[in-house]
């Protein structure tokens, strides 16, 4: 994987995660959660902008050229972030698994040799810690809440789990990731799905699910309708 593809992977994860989280606006189960999800979306969007700007420098493209003028085959995000939001349990499962990847990732990058990337990661790492905490709390509340919420949270964990293998196929080891995730699932009284089964991937090489092109069609429609315009 080229350096640029690597940066695009980090940036696209954050961008697509932000886009999905922002879909919750005015639709959360609680007003406080509207604030919290917007906050997390803003964190992801902020990290995405820094990462895409950095990635774009070697390509001669700015953040908007990368966000708005690539097709889905050129996006490098993992499949997990592009999956539909589903219910609140699915959204929390996605966020838990993503942040349990981004937290050790950014921690490592913050101590890495690339100073520019280290600075971005140092900021993003603190945010990831909050995302992980927030989604952990909800996973626990839902897992150990009512019968219905337990069922939904377990279903969400089971459905999203296969997509986490793609997260841990690169710079974050499966064991580091599991170290974060397992205690949360245990406290949430949830069954940890087994590894070794279905492990969809392709996102890092631009082979996505059928969902991403719809997301991009909506995200890019206005920008593309006015070529060259400033906003």
């Amino acid at each position: 994987m080229s350096d640029v593809d690597r940066l695009l992977g980090f940036g696209d994860d954050a961008l697509i995660a932000a886009q999905r989280l922002a879909e919750w606006h005015a639709s959360s189960p609680e007003m406080e959660e509207d604030v919290a999800l917007a906050n997390i979306a803003l964190d992801q969007l902020g990290a995405a902008r820094l990462l895409l700007t950095y990635a774009g420098e070697s390509l001669g493209k700015d953040e908007d050229a990368l966000a708005y003028l690539r097709d889905d085959r050129e996006f490098r995000n993992c499949l997990l972030v592009e999956l539909p939001n589903g219910d609140f349990a699915v959204t929390m499962a996605k966020l838990l698994f993503l942040s349990a990847y981004q937290l050790p990732l950014y921690t490592a990058l913050a101590a890495g040799p690339d100073e520019r990337l280290a600075a971005i990661a140092a900021k993003a790492r603190k945010e990831s810690a909050y995302h992980f905490d927030h989604s952990s709390q909800w996973t626990i509340r839902l897992g150990d809440g009512t019968e219905e919420s337990h069922r939904r949270m377990q279903d969400a964990v089971d459905d999203i789990w296969p997509y986490t293998h793609e997260l841990t196929a690169g710079e974050v080891s499966r064991s580091d990731w599991l170290t974060l995730v397992e205690p949360v699932l245990a406290e949430a009284t949830l069954v940890r799905p087994g590894d070794g089964g279905w492990a969809p991937d392709g996102g890092r090489s631009g082979v996505h699910t059928e969902h991403l092109s719809y997301l991009l069609a909506e995200m890019q429609v206005l920008h593309r309708a006015h070529p060259g315009a400033k906003w």
Binding site: Q19, A22, S27, P29, D34, T146, W231
Partner: protein, 305 residues
Amino acid sequence: EGLEEYFTAVIEADQKIEPRDWMPDSYRKTLIRQIAQHAHSEIIGMQPEGNWISRAPSLKRKAILLAKVQDEAGHGLYLYAAAETLGVSRDELVQMLLEGRQKYSSIFNYPTLTWADVGAIGWLVDGAAIVNQVPLCRCSYGPYARAMIRICKEESFHQRQGYEILHTLAHGTDGQKALAQDSVNRWWYPSLAMFGPPDADSTHSAQSMAWKIKRFSNDELRQRFVDMCVQQAEVLGLTLPDPDLRWNEERQAYDYTQPDYDELKRVISGDGPCNRQRMAHRRGAHAEGAWVREAAAAYAKKRSR
């Protein structure tokens, strides 16, 4: 008796009534109605602007809009908290909204059809809100006045961002300029109507003025808004859609065409373009979140044992 005299004295001295203080029941009810309506407006107001988050044309604009919609959720929270100091719970107020027994600002019953509407809402709708709300920072009820100070600060930030969006569009491509003008054309009169019916038809106003909840009449505030907008429109290079708008030397103010108050009444009574959509969305989100709120309550109960 002494309590009522103290209340009146505080009001007259331009001091604040606080939650612990005695207050007339009608003062309390008026405030609850007004603060709740304001809170509901923040919550419902997230919908029309939120409609463009996913499609914002640059990442910077997306971040700004997302932050703005987040601020509105935050404002809703402060305001419900302010209302709660008057002895009503947020759940009760939310229920009143969902059942249609309390209103929210009618302006949010218009659709956001283009990105420029995000600009126009910032400039005109937030602008009108600020003109309405700045005097509320001196409202006689302490918690409301303090909430408004914080909210007005953020609102004026939002207004500037909306103005910037329109300014960029108005100085952009022909297509962008057309978007901006179209949007101002659609939002101008609904924004004027935000100040409510003409003073002659306005209920509640006299008592609210006496209590120093309200400090200026609907028509006074509307005029202030018009005068402010005319100058800003010129800088924007956009036309306000009122052929009769002109400076009145005598009044030292702009003459302008009144909004269609029959339309305003229809929208208030539920027949605006988006009333049903906004309420259906709010009710749907509330209903779909029920299992989550129940789970959180069940979990909290387990922990507290």
